[in-house]
Amino acid sequence: MLHDTTHITDRPVILSLAGLSKTFGTLKAVDDISLSIPEGEFLTIVGPSGSGKSTLVRILAGLEAPTSGDLFLRDTQITQSPANKRPTAMVFQSLALFDHRTVGQNIEFAMKMKGVPAADRRNRALELLQLVRLPEDYYSRPVTQCSGGERQRVALARAFASDPEILFFDEPLSAIDYRLRKTLEVELKELHQRTGRTFVYITHSLEEAMVMSDRIAIMQSGRIVQTGTPAEIYSAPVNRFVASFMGEVNILTLEKDTGGKQVFSEIGQPVQAARGAYAMIRPEALELGPGEITTQLTVTQRLMLGSRTQVHLVSELGATLISELPGTAPELDIGTTHPFSFSTEDIAWMDE
């Protein structure tokens, strides 16, 4: 099944996945995935651990053979071709740097394997050091003497050195501390824009995916459940899994009351013109004061988020909700009850 209907691009497809599956014993790690990746796209595959995203990218890189399905690079079938024959390069989660070599030797590895003369290799390596913002004198430094962020950059330069058409990233930033990760995310996005290469990035963080990607594919137990631009995913998650993956959101369940009217079971409020079985309401859409759909909620927790305040609320029926309000919201003391409301326009409807 193709989910690739929301993203429209006129660029030619560089990589197509046709019904890729990978089974380990009885476990279907990758389950019938079809996807087309246009040239120059920054595609991020997001999923929790165990969703099969790492296995998928390893199949794309040629490090794992699929149990069934086909893989095409432009029009060429490459399903069976080994990793070293594919014009792709991977940045590993562990980085997999050659610790017995210098930074320069690591970067030059792919060129050395191709038999590029030493002088040319060196020039290209120095260019690449500049590209990933490392000083030139790092060239002869052992990689074991580099910091975490520097090692990231060396791994990136090494992958670029093979002049790949597609770069794969298997959660390379997951072991990096928050601030450095933010910096590297932006640098990676800039690098993508400057080089125009196709990036396929794997992560378990939807936040990271939102920052960098042109398009996001969300994986759940071996399947891609939704693809779309970050904005599309954000505004219209296809199911509760995707919605909850985005962090703290309110999900309300629709049910019919005794009179046959549609009500939200968590707050007991009726709603007209429901377009799904579940409603996602973002914390910032749940506002203080009466409105279209109003309900009485009691404050159980107050968290300062800088310019905003997050309050944890409980309804009369015992359901927990979250609201984010501008400023400090001084009137919302813990234990007090206030009217909160949201508008049907702010609801993202989901069927499952």
Binding site: M90, F98, M113
Partner: protein
């Protein structure tokens, strides 16, 4: 007068004394003996380098060469045999690895001479296990390589394989799987991956295995005696002859010193390149 006492020297003392008495002293005595006049039995004669001169002129370079060739060939052959074995044991054998390792290690607990005589029985012409079976079952008559240098060489490889395999197993386990994948991903062929990534990463284990095997083979005697039938004389046999039959202790001592020096010349440069920390840290 009172100094801060540290326990280090006290704990080291027993071993230090042992090494001094049982290692340094004998070597010193042997070295001193090698400077005594030929066929004398005292340590008080006039110092002379005559024994070293005769070692070269009386044809002792040949046994030394045979020993060096035997050690080098065995080292190379065991390395080539042990590499795939170690890789299979480490990466693919899974829970069978322990069983296979035990089976390979088991012969070490049986006397070397017993195993070599066993091989000798196997290799014997006509009635031997191999030739006899070929004759009785397949009606094929084959000759025998027993009592040749080749038989001695095969024996040496067989005896010393475990000494190469186990350090190499340690070496192979130092290669992280993702480094191999990274090399492949960056366009390296299998051979290039082996040469550029696997070999350097496994080098500490490989070097230890090579040193062990080489040094052990240089002092090996039984293989040439039992399987080789003294087709060639190895240096250990020559030294033994000097001390026993010839009753020429200074000459035997001089040959011993030469072997020690040659060994040191080969071993020390390798040892100095070996980073033992890498082996123990992970």
């Amino acid at each position: 007068m009172s100094q801060r006492s540290s326990p280090g020297p006290w704990f080291a003392a027993p071993v230090a004394i042992f090494m001094l008495v049982c290692f340094a002293a004998p070597i010193f005595i042997v070295a001193w003996y090698s400077l005594m006049p030929s066929r004398t039995f005292g340590l008080t004669g006039d110092l002379t380098l005559e024994n070293y001169r005769s070692a070269v002129t009386d044809g002792y370079t040949r046994p030394l060469m045979w020993s060096l060739i035997g050690a080098a060939t065995t080292t190379l052959a065991t390395a080539i045999l042990a590499w795939p074995t170690a890789v299979i044991l480490h990466r693919y054998a899974g829970r069978w690895a322990a069983v296979a390792s035990a089976l390979i290690a088991l012969p070490i607990f049986i006397s070397e001479s017993v195993r070599l005589f066993g091989m000798s029985v196997f290799m014997m012409p006509r009635g031997g296990i191999l030739a006899g079976t070929m004759n009785a079952v397949f009606d094929i008559q084959i000759g025998s390589i027993l009592n040749t240098w080749s038989a001695a060489q095969i024996g040496m490889i067989y005896i010393h394989l475990p000494f190469m395999l186990f350090p190499l197993l340690l070496g192979v386990s130092l290669i992280p799987a993702d480094r191999i994948e990274a090399a492949r991903d960056l366009g390296a062929t299998r051979w290039q991956t082996f040469r550029e990534v696997e070999l350097p990463l496994a080098a500490p284990g490989l070097l230890i295995g090579m040193l062990l095997t080489f040094v052990l083979c240089l002092g090996a005697n039984a293989e040439a005696a039992i399987l080789g039938g003294r087709a060639v004389t190895v240096i250990t046999a020559a030294i033994e002859q000097r001390f026993n039959y010839a009753q020429d202790w200074p000459m035997g001592a001089a040959l011993t010193v030469i072997v020690i020096l040659v060994t040191a010349l080969i071993v020390l440069p390798v040892l100095s390149r070996l980073d033992l920390n890498r082996l123990t840290r992970r």
